[in-house]
């Protein structure tokens, strides 16, 4: 049977400039926007069905992790730049806003943007030289930066509280009333994660996003077509660092505490793993990555000492059998289903 799509898209003759073709809804919102809206409405229902506070707190961490993983997926999956300093940017956001809150009673609404600015600024400083490096050397440079920041979190005891952690961070408040209730906190992270997901969707489905995906495959090719490769890499690196800073700020005011190991080498590596498990360079991948990162450790907790082993094992199995991550696996499944239904 003839493939319907081919018939629909093939122009009758090669010369018709206005040959039939699929066009996205002009100027309107795309299907991905609609899906994102639907998912966010579903997530809005989460606190009402969660049942207990523990489950709500998982929802909060899911949103924070989603911001981290989705932003990392943007610089790594779409832009092709291996970054192992996302944990550091997360920490810079957390410690900036957390320290300001603990030492000077600065409101999160001011502290978090400042934390994002600090993360973004340090991304400029490290990105300017590092993004000229390639592949493993970029990985090393970002990892080295993370190591330096980690030492600072541990050793600048006066500011950060050192290895014992930063105490006395204030919670979110609205018009002078602290938002102690978990539900209120959930709404804050729900809005933040939704905005981040929307911003990323708009970015990757744009002229800029196309240029990013192009330079991920061939920097020389993109350069030859007018893409200022270095500038784009830097801009996206800084933008995603700011998003990680936002996640850090949200985390520290939710947790009202921060300690260095949350933002170390292991976190940076695990975030990369979650990007891969969710689906490298796939927009919906981080949803699955964040779900795994948030929920699986809780599920494995009952296994006690076996937890870590099972976690590593399942990671290996997913990568072996679903190299495109969960999102890639679902895509392949949907593709097979479609083809099966058509023939």
């Amino acid at each position: 049977m003839a493939n319907m799509d081919d018939v629909m898209t093939r122009p009758a003759t090669g010369a018709t400039a206005a040959g039939p073709r699929r066009k996205p809804a002009a100027g309107g919102l795309t299907r991905d926007h609609a899906t994102l809206g639907a998912v966010w409405i579903l997530l809005a229902a989460f606190p009402f069905v969660a049942g207990n506070e523990f489950v709500v707190s998982l929802g909060i961490m899911f949103c924070i992790n989603l911001i981290l993983i989705a932003s990392l997926n943007t610089i790594m999956g779409f832009c092709g730049q291996i970054s192992l300093s996302h944990g550091a940017f997360y920490g810079l956001g957390a410690y900036t806003s957390g320290t300001l809150s603990a030492k000077l009673a600065v409101e999160p609404w001011i502290g978090i943007p400042l934390g994002m600015a600090v993360a973004a600024l340090s991304a400029v400083v490290i990105g300017l030289p590092a993004l000229r490096l390639r592949g493993h050397y970029l990985a090393m440079a970002t990892l080295g930066f993370n190591a330096i920041v980690f030492v600072l979190f541990n050793e600048l005891v006066g500011l950060t509280g050192g290895p014992n952690g930063l105490l006395g961070v204030g919670p979110f408040s609205l018009a002078g009333n602290a938002l102690f209730a978990l539900e209120s906190m959930y709404w804050v992270v729900w809005v933040a994660a939704g905005l981040v997901m929307l911003a990323i969707l708009n970015l990757i489905r744009s002229r800029v996003g196309r240029a990013l995906r192009a330079l991920a495959t061939s920097e020389i090719g993109a350069d030859a077509l007018g893409v200022n490769v270095f500038r784009y890499k830097l801009v996206v690196f800084v933008l995603t660092a700011a998003m990680a800073g936002l996640a850090g700020g949200l985390y520290v005011h939710y947790n009202q505490f921060a300690s260095p190991e949350t933002f170390g080498f292991f976190t940076s590596v695990m975030l990369v793993v979650m990007v891969a498990l969710g689906g490298w360079g796939r927009y919906w991948g981080p949803l699955f990555g964040a779900l795994i990162f948030t929920v699986v450790p809780e599920l494995l907790r009952s296994f006690g000492d076996l937890e870590l082993f099972l976690f590593g094992l399942s990671m290996i199995l997913v990568m072996l059998f679903m190299p495109g991550g969960v999102a890639g696996g679902l895509e392949a499944l949907a593709g097979r289903f479609k083809r099966g239904g058509r023939s």
Partner: protein, 255 residues
Amino acid sequence: MTILEVADVGRSFGGLRAVSDLSFTVAKGEIKGVIGPNGAGKTTLFNMIAGVTAPSTGSIALDGQRIEHLKPYQRVERGIARTFQNLQIFKDLTVLENVMVGRHARTRCDVLHAIFRSPAARREEEGIRDAAFAQLDRLGLAHRAEEKAGSLSFGECKILEIARALAAEPSLLLLDEPIAGVPHAETERVADTVRALNAEGVTVLLVEHNMRMVMRLCDSILVLNYGRKIAEGTAEAVRRDPAVLQAYLGEDDDA
């Protein structure tokens, strides 16, 4: 009328002179070919015009404006677009998206416009899509528009690179060995494409190993050997030039 002027250009790599004191011009509307035996400096010359390699000496001017200090992406904005001998297709993007990247230099909605999906960005995106599709249509690849570029044949990839370069509306199109590696059955298609584009007014500078193709396609030919110009002129004149015969003595002209 001159579109490209290369004056006294030289480039050495660690003491080895790849190109020395080279001067020539490309006239508006012509197809100019650069040939020469292996190691003659063709690729170095090509890279200096495209901006990948900076010349050590001399100047390069496009429409009378010096460009030798510009980066490749800046030269595209000035009107030089190129293809690659070793294909640089974005294979994970669709065919249409590849050509849409080619519109980059002619469009300007940046990161903030993108993030906020501004009306200007959405309008521009429509224009990019239409212009890119028009290029695919022009070169007969429109029916593959929605496929991943990685699924194209080698010859189709060469055409796609031309379509992508054309999307930048270049005043000068640089083709780096456009038929090298293309199966015999598809070489005519590439040659026809170049000829048709030229008829539509595109100026072309091409480097090519296949002498027969160059002789048939080009209005004028520049012959290099050991980084120096040894002849320049029409196919007929170059073919009879004793210096050229000598340079190619023993060389297989179809290699």
